[in-house]
Amino acid sequence: MFIGVDYFNIESLLNEEERMVRDSVRLFVTEQVLPIIENHYQESIFPLSIVQKLGELGLLGITFPQKYGCAEMNNVTYGLAMQELERGDSGFRSFCSVQSSLVMYPIFTFGSQEQKDFWLPKLATGEKIGCFGLTEPDYGSNPGGMMTKAEKVENGFILNGAKMWITNGTISDIAVVWAKLDGEIKGFLVEKGIKGFSAPEMKGKHSLRASVTSELILEDVFIPEKNILPKSKGLKSPLMCLNQARYGIAWGVVGSMMACYDSALNYAKTRIQFEKPIASFQLIQQKLVFMLSEITKAQLLNLQLGRLKDRGEVTHAQISLAKRNNCEMALEVARTAREILGANGILSEYPVMRHSANLESVKTYEGTHEMHTLIIGEDITGISAFE
Protein backbone atom coordinates (compact mmCIF):
# COMPACT_ATOMS: atom_id res chain seq x y z
CA MET A 1 0.00 0.00 0.00
CA PHE A 2 1.10 3.58 -0.73
CA ILE A 3 2.46 4.91 2.55
CA GLY A 4 2.27 8.61 1.76
CA VAL A 5 4.85 11.32 2.21
CA ASP A 6 5.12 12.58 5.77
CA TYR A 7 8.53 13.98 6.61
CA PHE A 8 7.37 15.99 9.61
CA ASN A 9 5.16 13.40 11.27
CA ILE A 10 2.06 15.43 10.43
CA GLU A 11 0.25 12.15 11.02
CA SER A 12 0.53 12.86 14.73
CA LEU A 13 -1.51 16.05 14.29
CA LEU A 14 -4.49 14.15 12.89
CA ASN A 15 -7.15 12.45 14.96
CA GLU A 16 -8.17 8.83 14.54
CA GLU A 17 -11.11 9.41 12.24
CA GLU A 18 -9.14 11.79 10.04
CA ARG A 19 -6.49 9.11 9.63
CA MET A 20 -9.10 6.43 8.99
CA VAL A 21 -10.78 8.42 6.25
CA ARG A 22 -7.45 9.21 4.63
CA ASP A 23 -6.46 5.54 4.69
CA SER A 24 -9.79 4.39 3.35
CA VAL A 25 -9.68 6.84 0.42
CA ARG A 26 -6.03 6.00 -0.18
CA LEU A 27 -6.86 2.33 -0.50
CA PHE A 28 -9.84 3.11 -2.72
CA VAL A 29 -7.63 5.16 -5.05
CA THR A 30 -4.97 2.46 -5.16
CA GLU A 31 -7.49 -0.26 -5.97
CA GLN A 32 -10.16 1.51 -8.01
CA VAL A 33 -8.60 4.58 -9.61
CA LEU A 34 -4.96 3.88 -10.40
CA PRO A 35 -5.59 0.70 -12.41
CA ILE A 36 -7.93 2.49 -14.83
CA ILE A 37 -6.79 6.08 -14.89
CA GLU A 38 -4.10 6.05 -17.57
CA ASN A 39 -6.41 4.45 -20.05
CA HIS A 40 -9.29 6.81 -19.30
CA TYR A 41 -6.95 9.75 -19.53
CA GLN A 42 -5.60 8.66 -22.90
CA GLU A 43 -9.09 8.00 -24.24
CA SER A 44 -10.37 11.20 -22.65
CA ILE A 45 -13.30 9.65 -20.82
CA PHE A 46 -14.53 10.11 -17.30
CA PRO A 47 -15.39 6.72 -15.76
CA LEU A 48 -19.02 7.31 -14.80
CA SER A 49 -19.17 3.99 -12.97
CA ILE A 50 -16.93 5.43 -10.27
CA VAL A 51 -19.56 7.99 -9.21
CA GLN A 52 -21.70 5.52 -7.35
CA LYS A 53 -18.63 4.19 -5.57
CA LEU A 54 -17.65 7.71 -4.52
CA GLY A 55 -21.17 8.07 -3.14
CA GLU A 56 -21.07 4.77 -1.27
CA LEU A 57 -17.79 5.73 0.29
CA GLY A 58 -19.31 9.05 1.37
CA LEU A 59 -16.99 11.32 -0.59
CA LEU A 60 -19.72 13.53 -2.05
CA GLY A 61 -20.55 16.34 0.37
CA ILE A 62 -18.43 15.11 3.27
CA THR A 63 -19.10 18.10 5.51
CA PHE A 64 -22.88 18.38 5.14
CA PRO A 65 -25.42 17.19 7.75
CA GLN A 66 -26.23 13.54 8.24
CA LYS A 67 -29.91 14.21 7.70
CA TYR A 68 -29.09 14.72 4.02
CA GLY A 69 -27.20 11.43 3.87
CA CYS A 70 -23.76 12.97 4.34
CA ALA A 71 -21.05 12.08 6.85
CA GLU A 72 -20.98 15.50 8.53
CA MET A 73 -17.23 15.40 9.05
CA ASN A 74 -14.83 18.29 9.50
CA ASN A 75 -12.97 20.27 6.86
CA VAL A 76 -9.63 18.63 7.57
CA THR A 77 -11.19 15.28 6.72
CA TYR A 78 -12.64 16.76 3.54
CA GLY A 79 -9.18 18.07 2.66
CA LEU A 80 -7.48 14.74 3.29
CA ALA A 81 -10.02 12.97 1.11
CA MET A 82 -9.38 15.44 -1.73
CA GLN A 83 -5.63 14.95 -1.29
CA GLU A 84 -5.94 11.20 -1.67
CA LEU A 85 -8.29 11.45 -4.65
CA GLU A 86 -5.96 13.78 -6.47
CA ARG A 87 -3.10 11.34 -5.93
CA GLY A 88 -5.18 9.30 -8.34
CA ASP A 89 -6.02 12.09 -10.76
CA SER A 90 -6.99 15.76 -10.64
CA GLY A 91 -10.05 14.90 -12.73
CA PHE A 92 -11.49 12.68 -10.00
CA ARG A 93 -10.84 15.29 -7.39
CA SER A 94 -12.44 17.89 -9.67
CA PHE A 95 -15.55 15.77 -9.90
CA CYS A 96 -15.84 15.62 -6.11
CA SER A 97 -14.95 19.30 -5.67
CA VAL A 98 -17.66 20.37 -8.08
CA GLN A 99 -20.31 18.04 -6.70
CA SER A 100 -19.55 18.93 -3.07
CA SER A 101 -18.38 22.54 -3.04
CA LEU A 102 -19.99 23.98 -6.14
CA VAL A 103 -23.32 22.16 -6.26
CA MET A 104 -24.22 20.81 -2.82
CA TYR A 105 -22.77 23.85 -1.06
CA PRO A 106 -24.85 26.47 -2.93
CA ILE A 107 -28.00 24.36 -2.59
CA PHE A 108 -27.29 23.90 1.11
CA THR A 109 -26.39 27.57 1.65
CA PHE A 110 -28.70 29.46 -0.69
CA GLY A 111 -31.41 26.88 -1.38
CA SER A 112 -34.94 26.50 -0.06
CA GLN A 113 -35.73 23.66 2.33
CA GLU A 114 -37.55 21.91 -0.50
CA GLN A 115 -34.50 22.16 -2.78
CA LYS A 116 -32.24 20.83 -0.03
CA ASP A 117 -34.51 17.92 0.83
CA PHE A 118 -34.87 16.94 -2.80
CA TRP A 119 -31.36 17.39 -4.16
CA LEU A 120 -28.83 16.91 -1.36
CA PRO A 121 -29.51 13.21 -0.62
CA LYS A 122 -29.42 12.34 -4.33
CA LEU A 123 -26.23 14.30 -4.89
CA ALA A 124 -24.66 12.62 -1.83
CA THR A 125 -25.17 9.11 -3.19
CA GLY A 126 -24.14 10.07 -6.71
CA GLU A 127 -27.58 9.17 -8.06
CA LYS A 128 -27.62 12.72 -9.43
CA ILE A 129 -24.65 14.67 -10.78
CA GLY A 130 -24.30 18.43 -10.75
CA CYS A 131 -22.23 21.21 -12.31
CA PHE A 132 -21.53 24.88 -11.65
CA GLY A 133 -21.84 27.41 -14.44
CA LEU A 134 -20.15 30.70 -13.72
CA THR A 135 -17.44 31.22 -16.38
CA GLU A 136 -18.48 32.52 -19.79
CA PRO A 137 -16.56 32.70 -23.07
CA ASP A 138 -15.87 36.42 -22.50
CA TYR A 139 -15.87 36.50 -18.70
CA GLY A 140 -13.36 34.35 -16.82
CA SER A 141 -11.41 36.23 -14.18
CA ASN A 142 -14.10 38.90 -14.00
CA PRO A 143 -17.32 36.90 -13.67
CA GLY A 144 -19.10 39.99 -12.40
CA GLY A 145 -19.40 41.12 -16.00
CA MET A 146 -21.35 38.03 -17.06
CA MET A 147 -23.84 38.31 -19.92
CA THR A 148 -26.17 35.47 -18.98
CA LYS A 149 -29.50 37.00 -18.07
CA ALA A 150 -32.65 35.95 -16.28
CA GLU A 151 -35.94 37.64 -16.93
CA LYS A 152 -38.94 37.40 -14.63
CA VAL A 153 -42.02 35.98 -16.28
CA GLU A 154 -45.20 34.50 -14.91
CA ASN A 155 -44.43 31.50 -12.59
CA GLY A 156 -40.72 31.67 -13.25
CA PHE A 157 -37.86 33.04 -15.27
CA ILE A 158 -36.46 32.93 -18.79
CA LEU A 159 -32.69 32.34 -18.99
CA ASN A 160 -30.50 33.29 -21.93
CA GLY A 161 -26.73 33.04 -22.26
CA ALA A 162 -23.76 30.71 -22.58
CA LYS A 163 -21.33 29.26 -20.09
CA MET A 164 -17.97 27.70 -20.92
CA TRP A 165 -15.41 25.43 -19.25
CA ILE A 166 -18.02 23.80 -17.07
CA THR A 167 -16.78 20.66 -15.30
CA ASN A 168 -19.31 17.78 -15.41
CA GLY A 169 -21.65 19.82 -17.65
CA THR A 170 -22.56 17.13 -20.17
CA ILE A 171 -23.08 14.43 -17.53
CA SER A 172 -25.05 16.59 -15.11
CA ASP A 173 -28.65 16.19 -14.02
CA ILE A 174 -28.62 19.63 -12.50
CA ALA A 175 -26.66 22.79 -13.31
CA VAL A 176 -26.23 25.62 -10.83
CA VAL A 177 -26.25 28.52 -13.30
CA TRP A 178 -25.39 32.06 -12.31
CA ALA A 179 -27.24 34.77 -14.20
CA LYS A 180 -28.17 38.41 -13.78
CA LEU A 181 -31.72 39.18 -12.75
CA ASP A 182 -32.33 42.93 -12.96
CA GLY A 183 -28.58 43.45 -12.75
CA GLU A 184 -28.08 41.29 -9.64
CA ILE A 185 -26.38 37.88 -9.87
CA LYS A 186 -28.62 35.02 -8.73
CA GLY A 187 -28.27 31.25 -8.78
CA PHE A 188 -30.69 29.02 -10.73
CA LEU A 189 -31.13 25.27 -10.80
CA VAL A 190 -31.33 24.21 -14.43
CA GLU A 191 -32.44 20.63 -14.90
CA LYS A 192 -31.18 18.34 -17.62
CA GLY A 193 -33.42 17.94 -20.64
CA ILE A 194 -35.33 21.15 -20.14
CA LYS A 195 -36.30 22.92 -23.36
CA GLY A 196 -33.68 25.28 -24.82
CA PHE A 197 -30.85 23.95 -22.63
CA SER A 198 -27.92 21.92 -23.95
CA ALA A 199 -24.47 21.05 -22.62
CA PRO A 200 -22.11 19.92 -25.39
CA GLU A 201 -18.74 18.57 -24.33
CA MET A 202 -15.61 20.56 -25.14
CA LYS A 203 -13.03 18.56 -27.05
CA GLY A 204 -9.30 18.89 -27.64
CA LYS A 205 -8.06 19.27 -24.07
CA HIS A 206 -4.45 18.41 -23.27
CA SER A 207 -5.22 18.65 -19.56
CA LEU A 208 -7.80 17.07 -17.24
CA ARG A 209 -8.60 14.60 -19.97
CA ALA A 210 -10.34 12.20 -17.59
CA SER A 211 -12.79 14.94 -16.58
CA VAL A 212 -15.78 16.18 -18.55
CA THR A 213 -15.64 19.88 -19.51
CA SER A 214 -18.61 21.42 -21.29
CA GLU A 215 -20.40 24.45 -22.60
CA LEU A 216 -23.83 25.29 -21.26
CA ILE A 217 -26.11 26.86 -23.81
CA LEU A 218 -29.30 28.53 -22.63
CA GLU A 219 -31.77 29.72 -25.25
CA ASP A 220 -35.03 31.02 -23.82
CA VAL A 221 -34.98 28.39 -21.10
CA PHE A 222 -37.99 28.55 -18.79
CA ILE A 223 -37.04 28.00 -15.15
CA PRO A 224 -39.93 27.51 -12.72
CA GLU A 225 -40.11 29.83 -9.73
CA LYS A 226 -39.11 27.03 -7.35
CA ASN A 227 -35.73 26.63 -9.08
CA ILE A 228 -34.18 29.96 -8.15
CA LEU A 229 -31.76 29.76 -5.21
CA PRO A 230 -33.72 32.16 -3.00
CA LYS A 231 -30.91 33.16 -0.68
CA SER A 232 -28.27 33.85 -3.37
CA LYS A 233 -27.40 37.52 -3.59
CA GLY A 234 -24.89 39.07 -5.95
CA LEU A 235 -21.37 38.01 -6.98
CA LYS A 236 -20.57 37.21 -3.37
CA SER A 237 -22.67 34.03 -3.56
CA PRO A 238 -20.71 32.25 -6.32
CA LEU A 239 -17.49 33.53 -4.75
CA MET A 240 -18.46 31.85 -1.49
CA CYS A 241 -18.80 28.58 -3.42
CA LEU A 242 -15.41 29.08 -5.03
CA ASN A 243 -13.86 29.55 -1.61
CA GLN A 244 -15.03 26.08 -0.61
CA ALA A 245 -13.69 24.53 -3.77
CA ARG A 246 -10.38 26.39 -3.60
CA TYR A 247 -9.89 25.04 -0.13
CA GLY A 248 -10.27 21.50 -1.48
CA ILE A 249 -7.87 22.23 -4.33
CA ALA A 250 -5.18 23.46 -1.93
CA TRP A 251 -5.32 20.00 -0.33
CA GLY A 252 -5.85 18.08 -3.51
CA VAL A 253 -2.68 19.13 -5.28
CA VAL A 254 -0.62 17.74 -2.40
CA GLY A 255 -1.83 14.35 -3.60
CA SER A 256 -0.45 15.06 -7.07
CA MET A 257 2.81 16.14 -5.52
CA MET A 258 3.04 12.95 -3.47
CA ALA A 259 2.44 10.79 -6.53
CA CYS A 260 5.12 12.63 -8.51
CA TYR A 261 7.65 12.65 -5.70
CA ASP A 262 7.13 8.98 -4.95
CA SER A 263 7.57 8.12 -8.60
CA ALA A 264 10.71 10.27 -8.97
CA LEU A 265 12.31 8.99 -5.77
CA ASN A 266 11.86 5.36 -6.72
CA TYR A 267 13.05 6.02 -10.24
CA ALA A 268 16.16 7.89 -9.07
CA LYS A 269 17.15 5.05 -6.75
CA THR A 270 16.96 2.43 -9.48
CA ARG A 271 17.94 4.26 -12.69
CA ILE A 272 21.65 3.69 -13.37
CA GLN A 273 23.62 6.19 -15.44
CA PHE A 274 27.39 6.55 -15.40
CA GLU A 275 27.39 3.29 -13.46
CA LYS A 276 25.60 4.80 -10.48
CA PRO A 277 22.00 5.31 -9.47
CA ILE A 278 21.10 8.82 -10.57
CA ALA A 279 19.99 9.40 -6.95
CA SER A 280 23.69 9.59 -6.11
CA PHE A 281 24.14 12.78 -8.14
CA GLN A 282 23.94 16.08 -6.30
CA LEU A 283 21.71 17.65 -8.93
CA ILE A 284 19.14 14.88 -8.54
CA GLN A 285 19.27 15.03 -4.75
CA GLN A 286 18.70 18.75 -4.91
CA LYS A 287 15.59 18.20 -7.00
CA LEU A 288 14.25 15.54 -4.64
CA VAL A 289 14.89 17.75 -1.63
CA PHE A 290 13.10 20.65 -3.31
CA MET A 291 10.09 18.41 -3.92
CA LEU A 292 9.98 17.06 -0.40
CA SER A 293 10.34 20.55 1.10
CA GLU A 294 7.45 21.91 -0.94
CA ILE A 295 5.25 18.95 -0.07
CA THR A 296 5.98 19.36 3.61
CA LYS A 297 5.30 23.09 3.58
CA ALA A 298 2.04 22.63 1.68
CA GLN A 299 0.90 19.94 4.11
CA LEU A 300 1.45 22.18 7.11
CA LEU A 301 -0.21 25.11 5.37
CA ASN A 302 -3.25 22.96 4.61
CA LEU A 303 -3.58 21.52 8.05
CA GLN A 304 -3.57 24.92 9.73
CA LEU A 305 -5.93 26.26 7.04
CA GLY A 306 -8.29 23.36 7.78
CA ARG A 307 -8.14 23.85 11.53
CA LEU A 308 -8.93 27.56 11.04
CA LYS A 309 -11.82 26.65 8.75
CA ASP A 310 -13.17 24.17 11.27
CA ARG A 311 -13.10 26.89 13.92
CA GLY A 312 -14.87 29.26 11.52
CA GLU A 313 -11.90 31.63 11.53
CA VAL A 314 -10.50 31.25 8.04
CA THR A 315 -10.39 34.22 5.65
CA HIS A 316 -10.83 34.08 1.90
CA ALA A 317 -7.34 35.54 1.45
CA GLN A 318 -5.83 32.70 3.50
CA ILE A 319 -7.55 30.21 1.22
CA SER A 320 -6.23 32.15 -1.78
CA LEU A 321 -2.71 31.97 -0.39
CA ALA A 322 -2.87 28.21 0.04
CA LYS A 323 -4.50 27.63 -3.37
CA ARG A 324 -2.00 29.90 -5.09
CA ASN A 325 1.10 28.51 -3.40
CA ASN A 326 0.18 24.85 -3.53
CA CYS A 327 -0.92 24.81 -7.17
CA GLU A 328 2.19 26.62 -8.31
CA MET A 329 4.44 24.33 -6.30
CA ALA A 330 2.59 21.21 -7.38
CA LEU A 331 3.19 22.13 -10.99
CA GLU A 332 6.88 22.74 -10.24
CA VAL A 333 7.11 19.42 -8.41
CA ALA A 334 5.47 17.57 -11.30
CA ARG A 335 7.78 19.18 -13.83
CA THR A 336 10.81 18.39 -11.68
CA ALA A 337 9.70 14.77 -11.39
CA ARG A 338 9.40 14.66 -15.17
CA GLU A 339 12.99 15.88 -15.45
CA ILE A 340 14.27 13.21 -13.11
CA LEU A 341 12.55 10.51 -15.13
CA GLY A 342 14.20 11.69 -18.32
CA ALA A 343 12.43 10.43 -21.41
CA ASN A 344 10.45 7.94 -19.32
CA GLY A 345 8.80 10.92 -17.67
CA ILE A 346 6.64 11.52 -20.73
CA LEU A 347 5.22 8.00 -20.80
CA SER A 348 1.87 6.91 -19.44
CA GLU A 349 3.67 4.16 -17.55
CA TYR A 350 4.46 6.83 -14.94
CA PRO A 351 1.94 9.30 -13.53
CA VAL A 352 4.05 12.46 -13.73
CA MET A 353 3.26 13.83 -17.17
CA ARG A 354 -0.46 13.32 -16.55
CA HIS A 355 -0.28 15.16 -13.25
CA SER A 356 1.84 17.87 -14.80
CA ALA A 357 -0.64 18.43 -17.61
CA ASN A 358 -3.59 18.33 -15.19
CA LEU A 359 -2.03 20.86 -12.88
CA GLU A 360 -1.94 23.43 -15.67
CA SER A 361 -5.74 23.56 -15.39
CA VAL A 362 -5.74 23.36 -11.64
CA LYS A 363 -3.46 26.39 -11.48
CA THR A 364 -5.92 28.32 -13.65
CA TYR A 365 -9.40 27.29 -12.58
CA GLU A 366 -11.07 28.48 -9.41
CA GLY A 367 -9.20 31.75 -9.84
CA THR A 368 -5.97 31.97 -11.76
CA HIS A 369 -2.61 32.19 -10.02
CA GLU A 370 -2.51 35.89 -10.90
CA MET A 371 -5.97 36.61 -9.54
CA HIS A 372 -5.07 35.00 -6.22
CA THR A 373 -1.96 37.16 -6.12
CA LEU A 374 -4.18 40.20 -6.53
CA ILE A 375 -6.68 38.99 -3.91
CA ILE A 376 -3.90 38.60 -1.34
CA GLY A 377 -2.34 41.84 -2.54
CA GLU A 378 -5.57 43.65 -1.90
CA ASP A 379 -5.93 42.03 1.50
CA ILE A 380 -2.51 43.16 2.73
CA THR A 381 -2.42 46.63 1.15
CA GLY A 382 -6.04 47.55 1.27
CA ILE A 383 -5.76 48.54 -2.40
CA SER A 384 -7.42 46.51 -5.11
CA ALA A 385 -5.40 46.12 -8.29
CA PHE A 386 -8.29 44.65 -10.23
CA GLU A 387 -11.46 46.48 -9.39
Binding site: M1, I3, E16, E17, M20, V21, S24, L27, F28, E56, L57, G58, L59, I62, Q66, A71, E72, M73, T77, A81
Partner: protein, 248 residues
Protein backbone atom coordinates in the same frame (compact mmCIF):
# COMPACT_ATOMS: atom_id res chain seq x y z
CA UNK B 1 -26.90 -15.85 15.64
CA UNK B 2 -23.86 -14.22 17.10
CA UNK B 3 -20.97 -14.06 14.64
CA UNK B 4 -17.48 -13.40 15.97
CA UNK B 5 -14.42 -12.23 14.03
CA UNK B 6 -10.96 -12.40 15.54
CA UNK B 7 -8.73 -9.62 14.24
CA UNK B 8 -5.06 -8.91 14.68
CA UNK B 9 -3.15 -5.65 14.52
CA UNK B 10 0.03 -6.19 12.49
CA UNK B 11 2.83 -4.18 10.87
CA UNK B 12 1.93 -2.92 7.39
CA UNK B 13 3.45 -5.29 4.86
CA UNK B 14 4.98 -2.25 3.14
CA UNK B 15 6.77 -1.23 6.37
CA UNK B 16 10.51 -1.74 6.72
CA UNK B 17 11.02 -3.93 9.77
CA UNK B 18 14.02 -3.58 12.10
CA UNK B 19 14.88 -5.66 15.15
CA UNK B 20 15.03 -3.78 18.44
CA UNK B 21 18.10 -3.71 20.66
CA UNK B 22 16.91 -6.66 22.81
CA UNK B 23 17.38 -8.82 19.71
CA UNK B 24 14.02 -10.53 20.02
CA UNK B 25 11.32 -8.05 19.20
CA UNK B 26 10.35 -5.64 16.44
CA UNK B 27 11.54 -2.07 16.63
CA UNK B 28 8.29 -0.13 16.28
CA UNK B 29 9.74 3.25 15.34
CA UNK B 30 8.27 4.40 12.07
CA UNK B 31 6.29 1.19 11.62
CA UNK B 32 2.60 1.62 10.85
CA UNK B 33 0.20 -1.08 11.95
CA UNK B 34 -2.84 -2.22 10.03
CA UNK B 35 -5.64 -4.78 10.21
CA UNK B 36 -4.11 -8.14 9.34
CA UNK B 37 -4.96 -8.41 5.62
CA UNK B 38 -6.43 -11.94 5.89
CA UNK B 39 -8.65 -10.75 8.74
CA UNK B 40 -10.29 -8.29 6.36
CA UNK B 41 -11.74 -11.26 4.47
CA UNK B 42 -12.99 -12.58 7.81
CA UNK B 43 -14.65 -9.26 8.62
CA UNK B 44 -16.28 -9.06 5.20
CA UNK B 45 -17.61 -12.61 5.42
CA UNK B 46 -19.02 -11.96 8.88
CA UNK B 47 -20.78 -8.85 7.56
CA UNK B 48 -22.13 -10.66 4.51
CA UNK B 49 -23.39 -13.52 6.67
CA UNK B 50 -25.11 -11.07 8.99
CA UNK B 51 -26.68 -9.21 6.06
CA UNK B 52 -28.09 -12.49 4.79
CA UNK B 53 -29.23 -14.16 7.99
CA UNK B 54 -29.39 -11.37 10.54
CA UNK B 55 -27.74 -11.58 13.94
CA UNK B 56 -25.04 -9.71 15.69
CA UNK B 57 -21.37 -9.34 14.89
CA UNK B 58 -18.51 -8.88 17.31
CA UNK B 59 -14.81 -8.29 16.67
CA UNK B 60 -12.28 -9.57 19.19
CA UNK B 61 -8.63 -8.61 19.30
CA UNK B 62 -5.89 -9.55 21.74
CA UNK B 63 -3.13 -7.04 22.32
CA UNK B 64 -2.45 -3.61 23.71
CA UNK B 65 -4.12 -0.22 23.45
CA UNK B 66 -3.00 0.20 19.83
CA UNK B 67 -5.09 -2.82 18.75
CA UNK B 68 -8.08 -0.54 19.21
CA UNK B 69 -7.20 0.99 15.85
CA UNK B 70 -7.86 -2.33 14.16
CA UNK B 71 -11.05 -2.86 16.15
CA UNK B 72 -12.18 0.64 15.18
CA UNK B 73 -11.59 -0.21 11.53
CA UNK B 74 -13.71 -3.37 11.92
CA UNK B 75 -16.46 -1.25 13.48
CA UNK B 76 -16.17 1.28 10.65
CA UNK B 77 -16.62 -1.51 8.13
CA UNK B 78 -19.87 -2.37 9.91
CA UNK B 79 -19.15 -4.80 12.76
CA UNK B 80 -21.57 -4.14 15.64
CA UNK B 81 -19.43 -4.56 18.75
CA UNK B 82 -15.79 -4.91 19.72
CA UNK B 83 -13.81 -6.36 22.60
CA UNK B 84 -10.16 -5.75 23.34
CA UNK B 85 -8.47 -8.50 25.37
CA UNK B 86 -5.90 -6.20 26.80
CA UNK B 87 -2.35 -7.21 27.59
CA UNK B 88 1.19 -5.89 27.26
CA UNK B 89 2.62 -9.43 27.53
CA UNK B 90 3.88 -11.72 24.80
CA UNK B 91 1.30 -14.42 24.05
CA UNK B 92 2.31 -17.50 22.09
CA UNK B 93 -0.22 -19.00 19.67
CA UNK B 94 -1.74 -21.40 22.20
CA UNK B 95 -2.09 -18.67 24.80
CA UNK B 96 -3.79 -16.44 22.23
CA UNK B 97 -6.16 -19.27 21.29
CA UNK B 98 -7.02 -19.96 24.93
CA UNK B 99 -7.86 -16.32 25.60
CA UNK B 100 -9.91 -16.05 22.41
CA UNK B 101 -11.74 -19.31 23.08
CA UNK B 102 -12.72 -18.11 26.54
CA UNK B 103 -14.06 -14.86 25.11
CA UNK B 104 -15.94 -16.58 22.26
CA UNK B 105 -17.52 -18.88 24.83
CA UNK B 106 -18.49 -15.91 27.00
CA UNK B 107 -20.03 -14.25 23.93
CA UNK B 108 -21.86 -17.46 23.10
CA UNK B 109 -20.89 -17.22 19.44
CA UNK B 110 -21.37 -20.30 17.28
CA UNK B 111 -19.79 -19.01 14.08
CA UNK B 112 -16.30 -17.58 14.21
CA UNK B 113 -14.19 -16.15 11.39
CA UNK B 114 -10.40 -15.82 11.50
CA UNK B 115 -7.90 -14.81 8.82
CA UNK B 116 -6.03 -17.93 7.71
CA UNK B 117 -2.84 -16.47 9.13
CA UNK B 118 -1.49 -13.36 10.71
CA UNK B 119 1.19 -11.71 8.60
CA UNK B 120 3.27 -10.73 11.62
CA UNK B 121 4.40 -14.14 12.91
CA UNK B 122 2.81 -16.32 10.24
CA UNK B 123 2.04 -19.30 12.47
CA UNK B 124 -1.23 -20.09 10.64
CA UNK B 125 -2.55 -21.88 13.67
CA UNK B 126 -4.65 -19.70 15.97
CA UNK B 127 -7.98 -20.38 14.25
CA UNK B 128 -7.54 -24.14 14.35
CA UNK B 129 -6.31 -24.14 17.97
CA UNK B 130 -9.27 -22.04 19.04
CA UNK B 131 -11.70 -24.41 17.33
CA UNK B 132 -10.13 -27.36 19.11
CA UNK B 133 -10.29 -25.63 22.50
CA UNK B 134 -13.95 -24.80 21.93
CA UNK B 135 -14.70 -28.20 20.52
CA UNK B 136 -16.04 -26.49 17.36
CA UNK B 137 -15.74 -27.79 13.81
CA UNK B 138 -13.13 -26.05 11.73
CA UNK B 139 -12.57 -25.38 8.04
CA UNK B 140 -9.37 -23.57 7.14
CA UNK B 141 -8.13 -21.59 4.11
CA UNK B 142 -11.66 -21.02 2.85
CA UNK B 143 -12.26 -19.35 -0.53
CA UNK B 144 -15.99 -19.93 -0.76
CA UNK B 145 -18.46 -20.04 2.09
CA UNK B 146 -22.10 -21.01 2.17
CA UNK B 147 -24.39 -21.40 5.16
CA UNK B 148 -27.67 -23.31 5.04
CA UNK B 149 -29.40 -23.42 8.40
CA UNK B 150 -26.74 -25.06 10.53
CA UNK B 151 -24.85 -26.64 7.66
CA UNK B 152 -21.74 -25.11 6.15
CA UNK B 153 -20.42 -25.86 2.68
CA UNK B 154 -16.99 -24.37 2.11
CA UNK B 155 -14.39 -24.51 -0.63
CA UNK B 156 -10.84 -24.80 0.66
CA UNK B 157 -7.86 -23.82 -1.38
CA UNK B 158 -5.48 -26.72 -1.87
CA UNK B 159 -2.45 -27.16 -4.11
CA UNK B 160 -3.68 -27.00 -7.70
CA UNK B 161 -7.39 -26.93 -6.92
CA UNK B 162 -10.18 -26.74 -4.40
CA UNK B 163 -11.59 -29.13 -1.86
CA UNK B 164 -15.29 -28.87 -1.01
CA UNK B 165 -16.02 -29.51 2.65
CA UNK B 166 -19.26 -29.85 4.56
CA UNK B 167 -19.60 -29.37 8.28
CA UNK B 168 -22.02 -28.20 10.95
CA UNK B 169 -22.22 -25.26 13.29
CA UNK B 170 -20.74 -24.37 15.69
CA UNK B 171 -17.65 -23.77 13.60
CA UNK B 172 -14.50 -21.78 13.07
CA UNK B 173 -13.72 -20.66 9.52
CA UNK B 174 -10.31 -19.35 8.52
CA UNK B 175 -10.41 -17.12 5.46
CA UNK B 176 -8.18 -16.89 2.41
CA UNK B 177 -7.76 -14.25 -0.29
CA UNK B 178 -10.38 -14.76 -2.98
CA UNK B 179 -13.23 -15.40 -0.57
CA UNK B 180 -14.64 -11.89 -1.04
CA UNK B 181 -13.71 -8.25 -1.70
CA UNK B 182 -13.54 -6.54 1.67
CA UNK B 183 -15.58 -3.34 1.64
CA UNK B 184 -14.01 0.04 2.27
CA UNK B 185 -14.69 1.74 5.55
CA UNK B 186 -17.13 4.43 4.41
CA UNK B 187 -17.13 7.89 5.93
CA UNK B 188 -20.51 7.23 7.51
CA UNK B 189 -19.20 3.95 8.87
CA UNK B 190 -16.23 5.76 10.37
CA UNK B 191 -18.55 8.32 12.00
CA UNK B 192 -20.75 5.56 13.37
CA UNK B 193 -17.73 3.65 14.70
CA UNK B 194 -16.68 6.71 16.65
CA UNK B 195 -19.84 6.44 18.74
CA UNK B 196 -19.38 2.75 19.56
CA UNK B 197 -17.60 1.69 22.73
CA UNK B 198 -14.78 -0.84 22.59
CA UNK B 199 -15.14 -3.07 25.61
CA UNK B 200 -11.84 -3.75 27.38
CA UNK B 201 -11.01 -6.85 29.38
CA UNK B 202 -7.63 -7.06 31.05
CA UNK B 203 -6.01 -10.46 30.73
CA UNK B 204 -4.03 -12.34 33.34
CA UNK B 205 -0.44 -13.36 32.58
CA UNK B 206 -0.18 -16.02 29.88
CA UNK B 207 1.09 -19.50 30.48
CA UNK B 208 3.28 -19.77 27.37
CA UNK B 209 4.85 -22.96 26.10
CA UNK B 210 7.09 -21.24 23.60
CA UNK B 211 9.28 -18.21 23.94
CA UNK B 212 10.87 -16.00 21.30
CA UNK B 213 14.59 -16.01 22.08
CA UNK B 214 15.83 -14.15 19.05
CA UNK B 215 14.99 -12.57 15.70
CA UNK B 216 17.17 -12.60 12.63
CA UNK B 217 17.00 -10.68 9.39
CA UNK B 218 17.18 -12.66 6.18
CA UNK B 219 20.62 -12.69 4.54
CA UNK B 220 21.00 -9.71 2.20
CA UNK B 221 20.12 -10.44 -1.40
CA UNK B 222 23.06 -11.32 -3.64
CA UNK B 223 23.56 -8.80 -6.42
CA UNK B 224 22.17 -9.95 -9.78
CA UNK B 225 24.38 -10.53 -12.76
CA UNK B 226 23.84 -9.79 -16.42
CA UNK B 227 25.10 -12.57 -18.64
CA UNK B 228 24.11 -11.02 -21.94
CA UNK B 229 21.36 -9.01 -23.57
CA UNK B 230 20.35 -11.13 -26.58
CA UNK B 231 19.54 -14.71 -27.48
CA UNK B 232 23.20 -15.74 -27.50
CA UNK B 233 23.07 -15.68 -23.69
CA UNK B 234 20.34 -18.33 -23.48
CA UNK B 235 22.61 -21.42 -23.30
CA UNK B 236 24.62 -19.84 -20.49
CA UNK B 237 21.40 -18.86 -18.69
CA UNK B 238 20.11 -22.43 -18.93
CA UNK B 239 23.43 -23.78 -17.65
CA UNK B 240 23.40 -21.41 -14.66
CA UNK B 241 19.78 -22.14 -13.82
CA UNK B 242 20.55 -25.82 -13.90
CA UNK B 243 23.96 -25.95 -12.26
CA UNK B 244 24.12 -22.92 -9.96
CA UNK B 245 20.54 -22.09 -9.05
CA UNK B 246 19.47 -25.73 -9.41
CA UNK B 247 15.91 -24.70 -10.29
CA UNK B 248 15.47 -26.55 -13.57
Amino acid sequence: MKIAVCVNHVPDTAAKINISSDGKSIDNTGVTYVVNPYDEFAIEEALKTKEKFGGDTIAISLGNESNKETLRKALAMGIDNAVLLKTEEYYDSLSVAKALAAEIKAQNSGLVFFGKQSVDFDNSIVGQLTAELLNYNCVSVVVEFELKENKIIADREIEGGKEVVETLLPAVITTQKGLNDPRYASLKGIMAAKKKVIEEKTLAKPNNFTEVIGMKKPAPKQPGKIIGTDSSAVPELVRLLREEAKVI
